[in-house]
Symmetry: C2
Subunit: 251 residues, 2 copies
């Protein structure tokens, strides 16, 4: 039974893609077989690993019946495969609602590769729409990146309410793996205040690993590489190795 992690948060720019790509790469480097599913029409996880979106060979097609195995490609990181996205996916938000099984399409597709990948990581767009609902319906674990800034706190309650609804109506197996503090700039009071507020509210649900703000993390995707390949000794790489370990330990 795969562990399927959804990376979700409707707040934009909080580090969903950066976390999806780097946790997936760290797990693969540790020897696991991992599938990274890009479910965002922006296709940032796809381009962040150096690939171009190809019409007809993306998660858009999987949502329209093409078997997942037909579109999966090697990512360039040993042990890590990629299900790339394409901007056509933006149409899914209006195309899917007419189907009976609209929330389960991704879950059904992932069931076919269940025995091949112990770990599946799904990157979501910044919205609580049909794509993110599909990811939450298919996943059995959820990682919520929380940027250490004021606006990022606002949407958490709404997100966790949506998760409860999904758990109650569609997917009882969905568990919160943890909240991840990202872009933490230790020099600013703002980051310290937000981090302590999140820990106060959510306690042990917050990962111990904290991702520092580090320009090397922002540079890595322009080279099509995860941080573990682009700059393995940087603070960003350390933090994502630690996070990958903690994710595995949390079960």
């Amino acid at each position: 039974m795969s562990r399927i992690y959804a990376l979700a948060n409707q707040k934009g720019g909080v580090g969903k893609t950066t976390t999806a790509v780097n946790v997936a790469a760290c797990l693969a480097e540790a020897g696991a077989r991992v599938l990274l599913v890009d479910l965002d029409p922006q296709a940032n996880a796809t381009t962040g690993l150096g690939h171009r979106p190809v019409r007809g060979r993306s998660t858009y097609d999987v949502l329209h019946g093409v078997p997942l195995a037909d579109i999966v490609i090697p990512s360039g990181v040993p042990g890590l495969d990629l299900a790339p996205s394409h901007p056509d996916l933006a149409a899914a938000a209006v195309e899917l609602p007419d189907r009976e099984d609209r929330e389960q399409v991704l879950g059904n597709a992932l069931a076919e590769v269940d025995d091949q990948y112990p770990f599946v990581i799904v990157d979501c767009p910044p919205a609580l729409g049909m794509l993110t609902v599909n990811a939450l319906a298919a996943a059995n674990r959820l990682i919520v990146p929380v940027q250490c800034e004021y606006y990022a706190l606002e949407g958490l309650a709404q997100l966790l309410e949506t998760v409860e609804l999904i758990r109650a109506r569609i997917n009882p197996h969905l568990q919160l793996s943890g909240l991840l503090l990202t872009m933490h700039d230790g020099r600013t009071r703002l980051a310290q205040d937000v981090a302590s507020e999140v820990r106060e509210h959510f306690g042990s649900k917050v990962f111990d690993a904290v991702i520092p703000r580090s320009v090397r993390l922002a540079e890595a995707p322009s080279h099509g590489r995860p941080i573990s390949q682009f700059d393995p000794r940087s603070p960003g790489a350390d933090a994502y190795y630690r996070l990958a370990l903690e994710v595995v330990e949390r079960g």
Copy 2:
């Protein structure tokens, strides 16, 4: 005839809300009467000015027939009124598609206040869905914040394609006011590279004003104030005053 500016970019976290709030406040401080419309279910522009979303008194209700004038409140900044948002707005993405006039709902609502506000600023969510389409259909100008980072470049072509479609099919008056470089950290090569790539591609369509990465801009919303009130002598405030001037000059 109001100048209606939409702040749009499907990439998340690029500075749409920060720009909407601060340009609106700078224009108001210069003596103009300004309306800031929060069309994002996250309601960040609303909370960033110190207000709480109220069910029944938000842009959600305007999209369901309540007159805009009924929900507009003073923002706390002289000359600036606010049409607050509420998380209920997230349902608009599925509720609106069944209406004949689904793209024009906001435009029709804004027509009623056309003579009261020479400037209207609309903050959009990070998606090219029904809410952003409504904003682009209602607006006659568009400001596109572009974060000086790699992923932010990726989505620009898709966004500008959507704008062309809207202009051709729904709103011939929609003009691009400009692309705004945001969170520019002059110390990093990444920011310099992205900025020069954007200027190479888009030339005079890029505002001269560049918004620096500045923690004071991220702190201001936690005090419910625009930068012009929170720290008027900071680099962030300077940049937004300059931008407001350039926006007016561009006509």
